[in-house]
Symmetry: C2
Subunit: 449 residues, 2 copies
């Protein structure tokens, strides 16, 4: 049985996803430095009753200063600030399993979950960039398979740490002087070659039990990881058919981990250019494309494809590209872009234009009704449980989506008109999670009852 | 030339520093779980024009659940939430150099500095607890000297990372398409056995350049570290004479690092019980002492002294105590408590009562005038540049200090009546710091000028 409504996440980035967004008159570039800008975006998303906002992250600036250097804020601290300016919107932060300690990261998400009263989510990533490796004592990127092995064990340790406090461990009885029940706070005694962590976590169980677990890699290892742990998946899918294939593939993997179809939501990304007419929307998109700096775009494309294109003629076809197996980070994005370029026989300039909006995510230019039609087709066509909305410019692009597209979705019964839950897990239709160390629930009933 | 006014930091902990605070009717214990409680404390401190608020931290819960387990919030995320509820008060977070990566921590403080518009401070600690070691892959506490070696290099790397962006690196010129000036963003190429970090940091220079650097250990290694790096020092000193000796000692160490007397502020801690009469204040203190749970206090004292006292008779004298050299973490606090017990010939119960308020910090019970007199005597007597106020119960104890003691200090010309700066560094009389990679300032003047 399929649900009738879908989920919406706002993927926020600086003053917009389009790489030239900061040069367009619809944005104010200096707002990338202002926390109030991001708090406002949180409030706009909440006004639209969206499930969540999300921030991507990386742990390096390349050797040249590029646009994405302007990740001014670290996502968890930024979301703490947004949490206090909002009351319902979910708050999803990217954090790396490659260059953190499980104890530190589990604690930060527990803290964010307490600060937000149950709205924390974690987009679990492995760090695949060599520039990141250089900042953490490595001479090269840790190998892809090993990064995923570490990610898997990292998540297991984090879950054990969140579970180390049962939900009713806090007693706080001033009369008896019992602050917490030691029988409900557990060491985890995790011992492996990679991690030795005794626990318990030094933060009581958060309102959600654990944050919503999100994943965004679509490589083979990424999909298997998602099927095992993720509750929401952000993905880039170019066509309805590809989206359907990805959706079926991912859902089919759930059973082997004992998970039901609805326990993982698939959210393909879209970059919407919205206007009164399709013509105006396309013209707006073109305005942004025209502002792309080829120098910057060539560096970005070179990094993505693993080929130096910085001296390549803009109007020539792409040179031969390597096989996915030769790519260490961003495997699935590499393949998506490679297929796009080959199938549409794009020149370098053409590919740059196609990628400018959302780095491989689908760009939709149209009227609010056309955008709504497209989302409905993907949802009813079995390619999506919801969507990852990537406004090309901010805040205007998010406002347009919230104020013009969301009401249409609501009128069609495709999206909630009011929040029915207070937590991020609740928005995504999931229950709070009980600790794995909690006794069998039957034990909670007194024998004499 | 001595300044005429001093500095005040509010050291905040749960519902108060007194270990039985949560059992007293002046507090509401459940507020330890509520971020709004801590935001309110930030606003109260700001109402009093205090320099800063501060949160201590540790990275473990002991094997039994103790009161300090209830560090519900991680300090940096918590201070992000407080930042958005305030506009002037400085925000100081404890973070460990033992179990973090310099890149991650430098970035979080840069993010907090951006979020707060220049109010971030870092209390630099090494983690000296075995329970902490167990959470990060170790079987024992890293040795004291090695922890300080790591701390020193960690701070050097963090400073290099903050300096990797010059203050005017961001250009943000939509016309030319120049986002940042690559010549003003630097790799740091730090290479040692311990840390290899290429940089630059993936966050532009914060409003303060770098956070205020704070230190709170008073061991020999701690004092040397403070003299080299710290801009504010929190310390526990029992008598005016001891305070003067510590103050002179620390200030005398500055010259060898090329630092001036005023570049480091010494702030001894006090735990104030405030009432209309001294008798009422003493009675209030006694109410709290009477609520101490001996079981909990004995475990705390055992951990502090490195001797198992949990089966020791409460009214018997203390057993012989080890030498400071045998203590791995909290050396200076150990010696302070040992001397206190020996000089005053305290029983275990007597020592527990003395430590209940502030774990070795001075407890002052008196009228607002008496508290003000005491602070004035320490300040004018050359034992303090300011004070670390540790309210025994919260928020009431902070409100009493802000509303009853601060006005007296202001009337005497000892404390500011309005903020004269917008940043934490500014409150402490320090300038923003320019990047070590910035060119000679003369280069900034055009040759033709």
């Amino acid at each position: 049985m399929s649900p009738k409504t879908f989920h919406l996440n706002a993927f926020l980035m600086g003053v917009g996803h389009h790489e030239a967004a900061w040069r367009h008159p619809r944005t104010e570039a200096h707002r990338v430095l202002d926390v109030a800008h991001f708090q406002e975006l949180g409030r706009i998303a909440e006004r639209g009753k969206l499930d969540s906002v999300f921030f991507a992250d990386g742990l390096a600036v390349g050797p040249r200063v590029q646009r994405n250097a302007l990740a001014v804020f670290e996502p968890i601290t930024l979301l703490s600030a947004i949490a206090t300016a909002t009351s319902r919107i979910g708050l999803i932060a990217t954090a790396s399993t490659s260059y953190n300690e499980p104890f530190n990261l589990a604690r930060k998400f527990a803290s964010l979950d307490h600060i937000s009263h149950g709205r924390a989510g974690w987009n679990i990533v492995t760090s695949g960039g060599v520039d990141e490796a250089y900042n953490f004592g490595y001479d090269a990127i840790p190998e892809h398979a090993r990064r995923y092995e570490r990610a898997q064990e990292f998540v297991e340790v984090a879950i054990e740490l969140w579970d180390s406090w049962e939900s009713d461990a806090i007693v706080l009885d001033p009369e008896t002087g019992v602050f917490a029940d030691p029988d409900k706070v557990h060491t985890i005694d995790h011992h492996s070659e990679r991690f030795r962590v005794r626990g318990p976590l030094n933060s009581p169980r958060g309102p959600q039990g654990r944050p919503l677990l999100v994943q965004a890699g679509s490589s083979e290892a990424g999909k298997e990881f998602a099927a095992r742990y993720a509750e929401a998946v952000f993905t880039a899918q170019r066509t309805l058919e590809e989206g359907q294939r990805f959706y079926r593939d991912l859902k089919a993997r759930l059973a082997k981990y004992g998970r039901a179809h609805g326990e993982l939501k698939v959210l393909p990304g879209i970059v919407p250019f919205i206007a009164d007419t399709e013509e105006q929307a396309r013209a707006l998109e073109q305005e942004f494309t025209d502002l792309i700096s080829p120098d910057y775009a060539l560096r970005q494309l070179s990094a993505l494809l693993g080929v130096d294109l910085t001296e390549h003629a803009l109007d020539a076809p792409l040179p031969p590209l390597p096989d996915e197996s030769a790519i260490e980070g961003g495997k699935s994005r590499f393949t998506l872009v490679k297929e796009l370029a080959e199938q549409e026989q794009l020149t370098v300039r053409g590919l740059i234009g196609k990628l400018g909006g959302g780095r491989g995510h689908r760009t939709l230019a149209g009227t609010p009704e056309q955008i709504a039609d497209d989302l409905q087709a993907w949802f009813s066509g079995g390619a999506a449980d919801g969507f990852n909305i990537m406004p090309p410019y901010l805040p205007g692009g998010l406002e347009d989506f919230v104020d013009r597209v969301v009401p249409i979705l609501q009128a069609r019964g495709l999206f909630r008109t009011e929040y029915t839950a207070t937590t991020l897990r609740g928005h995504y239709g999931l229950e709070p999670v009980e600790s794995q160390f909690a006794p069998d629930p039957t034990r909670l009933s007194p024998v004499s009852a």
